[in-house]
């Protein structure tokens, strides 16, 4: 592996054949304005210092790496280590990105921020930082997701955000993204669009990755400090792919670290009811970038299924598409049932309720660990906590709460 994986994207925002800026002409100016501002800010020591302060004192970073001894013993293979992003303020990795983008918005003089959300985690993280920085916040959310995630909708409202239901298309994350793009095109003068994952047109895949890359940078240092070596394998769940690229990025040039992304295989890839864009999709163009997408032979984006709303997306960040084709990372499917089993196992062996999204990563970590000797280390990104999913799990298992 001779190539430097840290050199991407190129000046056009491409990761090999993927990424780019596939947007309407009306968006080219706002995107150019954002690219210019962000390229300046990412080198600006004052901006970076402000970001670091907020990550430390507001988000609560660094998040620990925790040795899940009980779970590891139960599995009987390699030692499973958890990067505890669930302990961040708001309970997930999403805030790493929203803090960063809100600071960019502030520096660009935009008083209004908009966001799209699926599970509601990114919406809550956006509403949170908007309150923190005194910005007006509008969150677009599919009507189906609003129904699935009522608690998060209420949290956003408590934080002062306006939640706009999206009733077009499949009424889920991708439709919310379309609607937010429309808002941005119409209100570019005073509005900053906080995209919640490493998708969208350049510079978003790069910017969102940069803000989440703190996860992997910390983890790499913590591994060397606590264990004196790097992990043998790392894993994270992949919907759009922001927590995964956040963990993976610092390890991309460490050729001996195996990298595995866990996609939502839903009811099984063979059933067609899943959201595994990399494992079962094909290269296409969606939401401003070329990447792997789930679509039919007419090129229509297909509706996805996952028990976890946050993974229910028919595309994936272009850097993941690139890493797949380059052979640097593997992407595999974890079914709803496997994720739920992992959820329960982690709860009982470690006293941790993981988000359903993160439970996919835990399930993958268990699979990896089982095949590896006891003295090896698997690092799993526990990207969010599961409190938000308790009702979904209860309903699925026929329990009255």
């Amino acid at each position: 592996m001779s190539q430097d994986f840290h050199r991407w994207p190129d000046a056009h925002g491409r990761f090999g054949d993927f990424g780019g800026q596939y947007v309407a002409e009306t968006l080219m100016a706002p995107i150019a304005e954002l690219t210019e501002a962000y390229l300046r800010l990412r080198e600006d020591p004052e901006f970076l210092a402000e970001l670091d302060r907020d990550l430390k004192y507001y988000v609560g970073r660094p998040s620990p790496i925790y040795h899940a001894e009980g779970l590891s013993r139960h599995v009987g293979g390699a030692q499973i280590l958890l990067k505890r992003e669930d302990l961040n303020h708001t309970g997930a990795h999403k805030i790493n990105n929203t803090i960063g983008q809100a600071l960019v918005a502030k520096r660009m003089g935009k008083p209004r921020v908009i966001a799209e959300t699926g599970a509601g985690q990114h919406g809550v993280a956006s509403a949170t930082v908007a309150a923190r920085f005194g910005l007006k916040c509008v969150v677009y959310m599919g009507a189906v997701d609003i129904e699935r995630q009522k608690i998060n909708v209420y949290r956003m409202k408590l934080l002062g955000a306006e939640v706009v239901p999206v009733t077009s298309g499949s009424k889920t994350l991708k439709d919310a993204l379309n609607e937010a793009m429309r808002d941005w095109v119409t209100n570019v003068a005073d509005t900053f669009y906080i995209i919640g994952t490493v998708a969208g047109p350049h510079p978003y895949p790069m910017m969102v990755r940069d803000f989440n890359a703190i996860v992997g940078r910390e983890a790499r240092e913590q591994m060397l400090e606590q264990y004196g070596r790097l992990p043998d394998a790392i894993t994270a769940c992949v919907g759009g792919g922001s927590n995964a690229i956040g963990l993976f990025h610092a390890f991309l040039n460490d050729a001996n670290v195996r990298i595995v992304g866990a996609e939502a295989a839903g009811e099984g890839i063979a059933t067609g009811h899943h959201a595994a864009s990399l494992a079962a999709g094909r290269p296409g163009v969606l939401h401003g970038n070329r990447t792997y997408v789930l679509c039919d032979d007419n090129g229509q984006i297909t509706e996805t299924h996952s028990v976890s709303a946050g993974l229910d997306y028919p595309g994936v960040g272009p850097e993941h598409a690139f890493l797949k084709d380059a052979g640097r990372a593997e992407y595999v499917g974890i079914t709803d049932d496997e994720a739920l089993e992992a959820f329960h196992l982690l709860a009982r062996t470690e006293g941790i309720l993981a988000a359903l999204e993160s439970s996919h990563a835990v399930a993958q970590a268990i699979k990896l660990a089982r095949e590896m000797p006891k003295d090896q280390l698997v690092l799993c990104n526990l990207s969010g906590r599961g409190d938000k999913d308790v009702h979904t799990i209860a309903a699925r298992e026929g329990v009255q709460v």
Binding site: G169, R182, G284, G299
Partner: protein, 266 residues
């Protein structure tokens, strides 16, 4: 010579303003799409923009998005659209047809294959909304086959970029007169006039103006300074719900003819 270029030459020598209606292929009724195209021509269309339905039309407003959703629900895909153009060509060899849509359906079909099929069907140009100039290298097979790439320019387009677009323009340059999504808001005619005049003096192709044109009056205002007027959402809205071929044709004509008259009376 490409039909688009020929048509704009004729318009220029007759000192007429072109009328470019947009309809979503397959809406309101897939089986009457070809009849609708002929009705558009009968009502005075100079170029037809035929929308290829896409599941995620990011740059379109609710009217065209819903038209797309209705067509997709009836199973309409790119192959159907090409088939309808081919049928249309049996009776109309002259009216240029531009397919307007998004990149993914073309990408999935394959650029080489799509280029050959589109030319064979009698398509003259493509307007792929999410394929700006910077990403247009993928369209090389389309250009090699003789299809014109219709580029968009917007009020938000920076001066240096506008110069690039003017230099690269072919077929016609489509100026979207409103910064937002299709079919939204009102436009300030004098503001557009000044901008379009500047673009027309530099563009290597005629300039069509659209986004927000709703009736004869707004079309006439634009006709004074544009080579052509594009009418989309207002027409699609008018056609929605019509079922029979004659009903669809009547609505199209009732809507377009006053606009045609207004353009010619200038």
């Amino acid at each position: 010579m490409n039909r688009i270029d020929r048509r704009f030459d004729t318009l220029k020598s007759n000192r007429r303003t072109g009328l470019i209606p947009f309809v979503t292929a397959g809406d309101p009724a897939p089986e009457h799409t070809v009849a609708l195209m002929h009705a558009l021509v009968d009502a005075g269309a100079d170029v037809i923009e035929l929308g290829v339905p896409f599941s995620d039309p990011m740059a379109d407003g609710p009217v065209i998005q819903h038209a797309s959703e209705r067509a997709i629900a009836k199973g309409v895909g790119l192959a159907d659209v090409l088939g309808w153009v081919s049928t249309f060509r049996q009776r109309d060899a002259d009216t240029p047809v531009v397919l307007m849509g998004y990149l993914n359906p073309v990408e999935i079909r394959g650029y080489e294959r799509f280029a050959a099929e589109a030319v064979e069907a009698g398509v003259d140009g493509v307007l792929l909304v999410d394929c700006p100039l910077e990403e247009s290298a993928v369209l090389a097979p389309l250009k090699a086959a003789g299809l014109r790439q219709i580029l968009l320019a917007a009020p938000t387009t920076a001066p240096a970029r506008m110069a690039q677009l003017c230099g690269a323009a072919e077929g016609f340059l489509y100026y979207v007169s409103f910064a937002g999504i299709t079919g939204a808001g009102r436009l300030s005619t004098s503001d557009i006039a000044a901008r379009v005049a500047g673009i027309r003096s530099r563009a290597k192709a005629p300039v069509a103006v659209g986004f927000g044109v709703r009736d004869a009056q707004s079309a006439r205002d634009i006709a004074g300074f544009a080579d052509a007027v594009v009418i989309g959402s207002a027409l699609v809205e008018r056609l929605a719900g019509a079922e029979r071929a004659d009903e669809i044709a009547d609505r199209a004509k009732a809507f377009l003819q006053p606009i045609r008259t207004a353009l010619d009376a200038r």
